[in-house]
Each structure stands twice: as structure tokens, then as C-alpha cells.
Amino acid sequence: MSAALNGLTILAVCAGAFFFLAGTVGLLRFPDTLSRLHALTKADNLGLGLVVLGLLFQAEGLLAALKLISVWLLALLAGATVTQLIAHTARPSGPQA
């Protein structure tokens, strides 16, 4: 049972690390602000989400699990909303790249 949970943790954390890689590549390679924004939100949400999922299999107790999920939800909410706000402030002057 524990071995299965450990396996799930390894799988999810590895997938999460992959999405961080994708986000970094997107941030460095995409030509304009808005498409970089798009790449970044994907990486953010999925990368952190998968790491959190992986760690959930190791969590001790309900409070720790709840905190892990809250970290992800808050990052998701803040990230998405802030991305929108930034997109608004970036628009009037056009993509600056």
C-alpha cells in the first residue's frame, strides 16, 4: 500500500516538474506578452497542482492535506486573476515585445 502511494507521489511530482520545464521554455521562447501569459498560467496551474497532488499521498493528517490543497487553490485563484489584471494593463500599449 505504502509502495503504491510512493509510486503515485513519484509519478505526480515528475509530471509536475515537467510542466515547470514547459512553463520556463514558454516564458523564454514565445514571442509576445499575451502568449507568454498563456504558457505561464498553464505551467503554473498544472506544475504546482501535480506537485501538490504528489505530496497529498504523503500528507500526515487532515490539516496538512487541507493546507496543501489551499496553497494550490490560492495560487490558482491569485494566478488566474492577476494574469487577467496584467493582461488588462498590458493591452493599452499593446504587446510590448
Binding site: V52, E60, A75
Partner: protein, 99 residues
């Protein structure tokens, strides 16, 4: 949700390595702050560092058995949102100042 008292030492090593890996990739993204060109890009790079840093922190906390790392992560995520809102508000205020 099994206690980590059963945690395999190899698991701690793996999580530790994963923390390093995520941090290294995010550090590469930091080059965005160096290049700019716009404020929005810089905030985005900082946000990627924020999310990656939080992921690294969670992995590190689990690997080295520091449960308080969860509270640090919660604090970071709340304050990151606060900083981004301060940026948006400051930018609009700067326009108002100039008008």
C-alpha cells in the same frame, strides 16, 4: 494519507532532488526579469518564480520533515497575490498622477 514515519529514505532523497530540479528550471525563467522588456513580463517571471519557489518549498518541507513549510507556502501565496494587486493599483495610480 499514511504517516511519514513510514517514509522510505529514498523517498526523501527523491523529493529533495525534485525540489532542486524545480528551482533550477525556475531560475532559468528568471532570465526573463533580466531581459524585460515590459513590466508585465517581469511580474510574470516573478510569478513563475513564486509558484516554482512554493513548489520547491513544499517538496523541501516534506523531504526534510519541516511541517511548518506548509504555513510558509500559504503565507507566500497570499503575499504574492497582495504584491501583484499592489502592482496593478500602482500602475493605474501612476497614470492618474500624470494626468
Amino acid at each position: 494519507m499514511l504517516g511519514s514515519s513510514l517514509k522510505h529514505p529514498a523517498m526523501a532523497d527523491f523529493l529533495f532532488a525534485a525540489a532542486g530540479l524545480v528551482l533550477a528550471m525556475v531560475a532559468a525563467g528568471l532570465a526573463r526579469i533580466l531581459w524585460g522588456p515590459g513590466d508585465a513580463d517581469r511580474i510574470m517571471a516573478a510569478q513563475l518564480l513564486g509558484t516554482g519557489g512554493i513548489a520547491a518549498l513544499l517538496l523541501l518541507g516534506e523531504a526534510t520533515n519541516v511541517p511548518a513549510a506548509l504555513d510558509v507556502a500559504l503565507t507566500l501565496v497570499l503575499l504574492a497575490a497582495f504584491i501583484s494587486v499592489a502592482f496593478v493599483k500602482g500602475a493605474t495610480r501612476s497614470e492618474a498622477d500624470g494626468a
